[in-house]
């Protein structure tokens, strides 16, 4: 960290006291600061607006409501898989209900094994009701809303969660 000889220091201090680094005149300083801050605000505001770009108003997806077939077809099932919609339709004494096959941990598809459900990705295990038994899944498998369309089809809304005890009487 040696700083050379005396000449160095002299010239440097000359520079520091030169006009470029002169003490700012206060009124001019106000105008300067005003210019800088209004420019900065404009840029920042524009940037914030532009940053909104990657989030479109509507996501490019098909409707979450899907027809699964005539309700009558579900009269005698106990568990019917729908791989494309990633869910199962169940029937118990009270009626029909749908459970999602998407693992609540990281979105893999669980498979039914040994009276429960397993996720192949990180080993979450769920019981027959979809409640987590072990592994990293933070919450139970989702139950999805079912309804009947005017033309008598069973409709599942993949974006609408329901309580585990809701049944569609059909």
């Amino acid at each position: 960290m040696t700083h050379g000889n005396d000449t160095d220091t002299t010239i440097t201090s000359d520079l520091e006291t030169s006009r470029r680094f002169a003490k700012p005149h206060e009124r001019r300083d106000f105008l300067g600061l005003a210019a800088i801050w209004s420019a900065a605000t404009a840029v920042l505001w524009g940037l914030l607006g532009a940053l909104r770009l990657p989030w479109p108003w509507a996501l490019p997806e098909s409707s979450p409501r899907v027809k699964l077939g005539p309700v009558a077809d579900f009269a005698n099932i106990t568990r019917e898989p729908f791989p494309e919609q990633r869910l199962w339709i169940f029937r118990d004494a009270a009626g029909l209900f749908a459970m999602s096959a998407v693992c609540t941990h990281l979105g893999c598809i669980v498979s039914a094994e040994d009276g429960g459900y397993f996720c192949p990705c990180h080993g979450s295990r769920f019981n027959a009701q979809g409640e987590p038994l072990s592994g990293p899944a933070p919450r139970p498998l989702k139950y999805l809303q079912l309804s009947v369309s005017p033309d008598g089809q069973l409709v599942v809304n993949q974006d609408q969660e329901t309580e585990a005890d809701v049944r569609l009487e059909a």
Partner: protein, 546 residues
Amino acid sequence: MSTENQPATPAEESPGESPSSEPTPAPETDRSPGAWGQFVGNLRNSPRLFRDSVIRHGRPTSDRAASQAVFGNFFLHILPTRIHFRSLKFRTTLGLGVITLVLFFLLTATGIALMVYYKPTTDQAYDSMKDIQYLVPTGRYMRNIHRWSAHGMVACVLLHMARAFYVGAYKPPRELNWVIGMLLFVLTLALSFTGYLLPWDQLAFWAVTIGSEIAQSPRELTDVLGITSWFDPGGAIKHLLLGSNHVGQEALSRFYLLHVMVLPLIMTVLLAVHFWRIRKDGGLAASSRESQVSRESSVQSPESGLPQASLDSSKTYGLMAVVRGRTPAVDRVMADTVPTYPHALFPIAALSMVTLAVVLLLGHHYDAPLTEMANPAVPENPAKAPWYFLGLQELVSYSALMGGVVIPTIVVIGLMFVPYLDREREDVGVWFGNRQGRRVCVATAIFATWCVIALLAFTINVGWLRDWYPRIPQIVITFVNPGTVLLAVFVAWSLGTLKRTNSTRMGALATFTCFLVAFVILTYFATVHRGPNWQFYWSQADWPVH
């Protein structure tokens, strides 16, 4: 320290150097045939004239000419004209930075080649990969080279980081370059991850599905707090990455854009700053101890051909009056340096060729995998990330939020800030600093190995909270899981080391060693011992047959 300026060789115009190539000028009076004659002469000589304008020097025959060759060349002028002899020793750098850069160039070149045929749409991507594999001459080779270079680059960046850390190269004045290096590390991983989706095969689809769900995992916390409906950072990040709720066309477009344009551009700029800072910070971190040795030995060896150094010189090189701050001392620097040409350039060229040869051989013998086309209905089992993310995947299998977001963030930011917390200046440029440093590293390595293995064995044999208390709230598991326990133990150990040794450098060494050991063991463990359903198997031979 190395020469930052070019004291011995100011780049003045020396007319004697440039070849005088005017062909017999015609007399001034005889104008039109003279110009004609000149034109014909120039035309005849143009190949030679062109060559001379490109290659301005012959092979340098003196130190001065060698310095000028480096200084006057656009592609070489990022190097100093003279370089500290210690920077050239293999054990100083292990050549890792150069190898990484060569791999980056290879990735750029093969990446451009692959872009000729690759089509980033969900219905064409996989087919264009098959075209590249089976129809395009050299296509498969290009893809293999790209793949191996990418793996190699991640590995070399990691090793390069470890090297820089263990020789203390992050210390002042090199703090900023360490931070830039960490950013480059993160960028390298981001480039690998975005490239992973492009083949649109099963492996790609499910790795990126998992990755984007990890980005969404702050919901693990916001769901518990019940605020997801109006404050959802996890969902916002996922939508930013995927442009959708699922991995589809939008995600492929975005990953492609990031992979071929945004991230490489940022990386190129940061690389340039990274190299610039090496020069501005006085070259590679060098030990003052070794400098002393060299000063003594340089008295005996006339190799450098420079006047003997006087040790107590106060003369320094500096840009007079314009720049203040660190300036190399005249005599010490000159005595410890050798001309960059050929002493640095030839090893760099040799290392580049070896790297190239290794990658070409690997690419020739081992094909990059391509699994079946992406199928959103059926996940791979096991769905494993590339090897450098497998350590994280093991942590993620305890808690998505902690293992995938919080712990990596803490580790990266923590390592980034080490140079601001440890500012001891002793033993820079020496592996592990000193004897105490070596002891701390060995002790930490043993301790960390024991910790990681014990925790893994415990988790596999005994289980974790939910196996004992099935009704336990998720938030408890989020905060108390093997990953967070490991992090807490390592933080405690590092702070304990700092206190016990009364040295921030020792604390830093302990921290980094913990990180490295955990990374290596978790990566190994998840690669070898995790099978279908992410269950433990001693080897792949024990996997159940599906």
